[in-house]
Symmetry: C3
């Protein structure tokens, strides 16, 4: 299993969620973050206005999936989260050793 | 060391924290998230009302522990976070390579 | 690549960010968390007042960097986040298997 973590633009969240649901993703967790990438100190668009990039609000999405779904999930996020403008975000793939469903105690892939 | 990450119901946070403290857990980090699991589009109870599950607020708890405490931590979360209703949450176990206490610079298990 | 995750005092965030930028860190993500460490039930200073430590607000900073930058990043956080008082925070180092820039699709170290 892997955790695919994506820091994306807020207004793309629904679109990314719908695209992931369509390819069979069954769960995800979202939180509010702020951050910056390579253009710190330069300009980035946010809600139609230009800001000097220091910390900008972004949405962080975490999706835990079986190994054989990682590529599809990454490709789907790439397509649905992209605008082509700087600041579109980043995807991080991290190892997950186990997952357990609290209600049933099931573990491993069947708990996803 | 491992990070045990649990996404649970808010009203279970105190109970889970107390149960973990009782088995010797010395630290934890909590944040506000929203998410959904397998029943997306179906109904789940939240504060006595029924909602169509899209994104529901949950509490995310992160506990870094030595390897030999992982099983006890997972079992304790399972017991204390469970209601038996859908939406009880998920536990994810992830590898941690190092941990450092900022005040002292101590690293590894003694920094926990 | 590694994720260096640090839970630090809020008022240290700017100082830590500036110190990391100075050593060449190109991106980071910050979120609001609350937590406790070993002194749970004892006293810790927060904004000049003393609190019994249960959950205190902290800033969580995530920095994904190439392997050969991990030591510099950890040392820089240690120096810039430290006050010497209990509650200065913790650093966790975790493995990252891949990273992708959404705008361009670039993967691996060049996507950082
Ligand atoms: N190295 C990093 N570590 C942690 N978070 C990062 C890192 N780089 C980027 N982020 C997060 O991703 C968000 C979006 O970054 P951004 O899209 O600007 O990346 P970028 O590499 O500068 O790409 P682009 O050139 O397309 O802007 C940031 O606001 C930050 O939250
Ligand atoms: N695959 C996943 N990736 C990331 N987060 C997830 C995943 N599955 C669940 N979550 C998080 O866990 C929370 C609780 O999920 P939930 O308990 O509904 O899981 P479930 O598998 O549907 O189990 P149940 O059948 O008991 O409802 C979600 O709101 C979401 O934040
Ligand atoms: N084992 C842990 N797991 C998860 N988060 C932790 C853990 N220990 C500490 N934290 C997080 O780090 C924050 C700061 O912890 P703290 O600096 O008090 O650690 P400590 O080990 O008690 O060190 P000190 O003796 O200097 O106070 C906590 O509020 C919590 O968010
Ligand atoms: Mg950028
Ligand atoms: Mg569910
Ligand atoms: Mg402490």
């Amino acid at each position: 299993m892997k955790k695919v973590e994506a820091v994306i633009r807020h207004f793309k969240l629904e679109e990314v969620k719908d695209a992931l649901t369509e390819i069979g993703v069954q769960g995800m967790t979202v939180s509010e973050v702020r951050g910056f990438g390579r253009q710190k100190g330069h300009k980035e668009q946010y809600r139609g206005a230009e800001y000097t990039v220091d910390f900008l609000p972004k949405a962080k999405m975490e999706v835990i999936v079986p190994d054989d779904q990682v590529k599809a999930v990454v490709d789907t996020i790439l397509e649905s989260a992209r605008t082509g403008q700087i600041g579109d975000g980043k995807i991080f793939v991290m190892p997950v050793e186990d997952i357990i469903r609290i209600r049933t105690g099931e573990a491993g892939d069947t708990a996803l």
